[in-house]
Symmetry: C2
Subunit: 464 residues, 2 copies
């Protein structure tokens, strides 16, 4: 699967797409990396697509010339997912940023892949609607689908996997397909929609998405509560979920994470294990849910319950939570984010976090922990100086231990960030040669020239 970049491809792209093609150094540098510590690599050119036809033209030309194409949205990924590690074309979709259709009756909308999460919800607010997936970063919806993103609201609303109804995709040879109709459910053939969700731009380019929406709840109430230990907090959460109590978000921060947040966001949260909760519903139903949650959590050692329905206060709280990674990065000079992302069955979550905290202490690594605790997913927010090879190696060894720990507990190396370049070897440990070999067969069948985001997800050794 060799891919050779070629200046004649760039010439042909310029001929076809004019000034949508850039070889400017600053622009190429911007497209060389994501938010992570992974090594930047310059693309040979950047194409700014404004429509599906631009994408098809780009792919046809690049496929003919065997030039890599790496889709680029907001660049907020955390595993080098959009780094053009083998050069070629960075296909920037950020100008495809229109919401094309909204239906309040069907609770769905269709949009271009460059629409960003906050922009979408601002747009939808006048309809009384919202799209719940919230990974924290202001990512593009195309990127969120490609990564299989989720985030803080998954416990109630589901992840991208549950909320994408249909995709329009340009295949590596430039054909345009639609993966599904707009009906709420279907059993019509293989599930191409889910094949593209989480495929990280390695099978084609998403140029339209149809998403499920929800009515903005009458009441949104946030609350915080502290716990003596992670185990007590997690046990409480398990019981809340077993009882089917309607929590919309239920996030864990360990004391280091709270400390970093307080420093960065000027909050004054108690620096103990913290649960951050949110409830969506009518005033009646949220009152019932809040009372039930509080009772369960207090039985598990929770204390200091503080509730707010004030929007400004609530937004500040969640902004602080979402800024945890930035808060941690701010503690370090020349720091870039080294995100870990394991997810285990919730019954093993306390074990996994406790053993990880022990490892951090033993290894003398500063690693605040934040967790989407209702889903069993947590991040150790490491920061690395990418120029310090010894540090990167030391953190990578810790990460390997963390992933092995999660795998031994029937977990996954990535709950929501994807495989990218950083987890290719872990994927094989996680699913075995048979399953990854099946992925490679699919990749070869759909992208025989291997032009789409090469070097991601599947190790090269599977293609021999």
């Amino acid at each position: 699967m060799t891919v050779i970049a070629h200046s004649s491809a760039v010439d042909e792209l310029k001929l076809a797409l004019g000034d949508k093609v850039s070889v400017n150094d600053t622009i190429r540098e911007h497209h060389s990396k994501d938010e992570s510590f992974h090594t930047p690599t310059m693309p040979d050119a950047v194409v700014f697509a404004t429509c599906t036809s631009d994408v098809a033209t780009t792919l046809k030309i690049c496929n003919k010339h065997r030039v890599p194409v790496v889709p680029f949205g907001a660049g907020t990924s955390l595993e080098g997912n959009c780094n053009p590690i083998r050069g070629g074309v960075s296909l920037d979709l950020s100008q495809m940023d229109k919401v094309l259709r909204v239906s309040g009756e069907d609770l769905d909308c269709t949009l271009q892949p460059g629409v960003r999460r906050k922009q979408l919800n601002d747009f939808l607010s006048s309809y009384g609607l919202f799209f719940p997936v919230d990974p924290g970063a202001d990512a593009t919806l195309g990127g969120m689908a490609s990564t299989g993103a989720s985030g803080t609201t998954t416990v109630k609303y589901g992840a991208m996997k549950q909320l994408v109804l249909s995709l329009t995709v340009v295949t590596p040879n430039g054909d345009v397909i639609t993966t599904s109709r707009r009906a709420r459910k279907t059993s019509a053939g293989y599930d191409l929609t889910h094949l593209f969700i989480g495929s990280e731009g390695t099978l084609g380019v998403i140029t339209e998405l149809t998403l499920r929406l929800f009515g903005v709840p009458e009441v949104i109430a946030a609350a915080t509560m502290q716990f003596p230990t992670v185990r007590e907090a997690v046990d409480g959460v398990i019981e809340v979920i077993q009882f089917g109590i309607g929590v919309a978000r239920i996030e864990l921060l360990d004391s280091d994470a709270v400390m970093a947040v307080n420093k960065y966001s000027q909050t004054s949260l108690p620096e103990k294990t913290l649960l951050l909760l949110e409830f969506h519903g009518s005033s009646d139903s949220t009152a019932i849910d809040i009372a039930a949650t509080r009772e369960v959590l207090e039985r598990h050692g929770g204390e200091g319950f503080v509730q707010t329905s004030d929007e400004a206060e609530r937004r500040k709280l969640w902004q602080a939570r979402h800024d945890t990674a930035l808060a941690c990065r701010a503690l370090k000079r020349n720091g870039r984010i080294f995100a870990t992302d394991v997810c285990v069955p919730i019954s093993r979550l306390s074990d996994c976090i406790e053993q990880t905290q022990h490892d951090l202490a033993e290894s003398k690594i500063f690693g605040p922990i934040i967790g989407h605790v209702g889903d069993g997913n947590f991040h150790v927010v490491l920061t690395a100086d990418p120029d310090d090879n010894a540090e990167v190696e030391y953190l990578e060894a810790f990460h390997t231990r963390l992933v092995e720990r999660a795998l031994s507990m029937e977990g996954t190396c990535t709950g929501e960030h994807g495989i990218g370049v950083g987890k290719i070897d872990y994927l094989v440990n996680e699913l075995g040669h048979g399953a990854v070999g099946m992925m490679a067969s699919i990749k070869t069948a759909l992208d025989p020239n291997g032009i789409m985001n090469p070097g991601k997800i599947i190790a090269d050794s599977f293609y021999v």
Copy 2:
């Protein structure tokens, strides 16, 4: 993609699997068909697998001999999905009927594919848990995953697509893979789990499933309500869903369907457009949900609200609903079910049902309508005498008009029954040559000899 059945394959299977292999006529006849009117075809042999290794042995031998293999569960499919239309081996999984593991903390379980829906919920009841997907028939869970089944509870809990966490699959060459870890969510590589859900046994054989579970609600309350027209009922349902009111089931029966049900199940429901509802939750939350639903539906012309929380009464009501197909079949001599299964965006559901009722009247076809109205999915329950070619052709022409109507409304030809043999041409109309061609590429990559359930989902012309 030619496939040649061969008696030497059956001899080799007998040598390897002994009396798990049967060529008995009665047994082969039982495996020649499903519940539908589609023409039965005898398999050359039936293999009764009792473990994953039996499945692997069967597939290895059949792959070597290029003999078709058609997985068989309970035989309750409705599109000829398990009919061995090109002979070969019917691989019966009904003896793989063990629940292997249940976790109350993780709200999940792992089981063999031959476990049936009712058996699973009987088993889970002692844990205070249940699995919600309810297609009516007492299907196997393996069959339900393979078909991409859903049913009456999808509006609250989701379909098989949302509730399968992981699958163990035997590939056509006899390898055993696991599609995902047991964590609640993952972004690790291509979504092989969803690739197999709804693939109707054309890519491999499911030998284990890990499913999401839910706690049995404290209160389950059912209710019925009548409406002057389908449109008023559907408009009411749209508003209930827009408001995010928690309904667990919301089913529509037209007056013909109610009449058939009353006759078959000795119920005395008013023979008008009927909504059958169910609410799950605490006594507080269901009371709130019921009051809100009733208010909305009465504003849309609903009347005669009757509620019951009595379990026997509730079960009788839902059994009557689930027996609608049998009730319709009982009205006809030598009748077999000709199921239609379109699903449209809910904003188009009234139009689609009204136009279909008009078509039925014009065509003088008796076709009661039942609908999973919260999902936009409805069935015209036709019955056909399979020996009456003229009748089958007449109904097929009606079905074609129905599918075209649904497609023109951005709908799908199948919400939950799958493509099987009956809808192969509709699939191309629905998704286009590009998307179906992509499915064919995947099929060829994963099953190069075309042994897995040949002649289903994808038209032969895609393989040239």
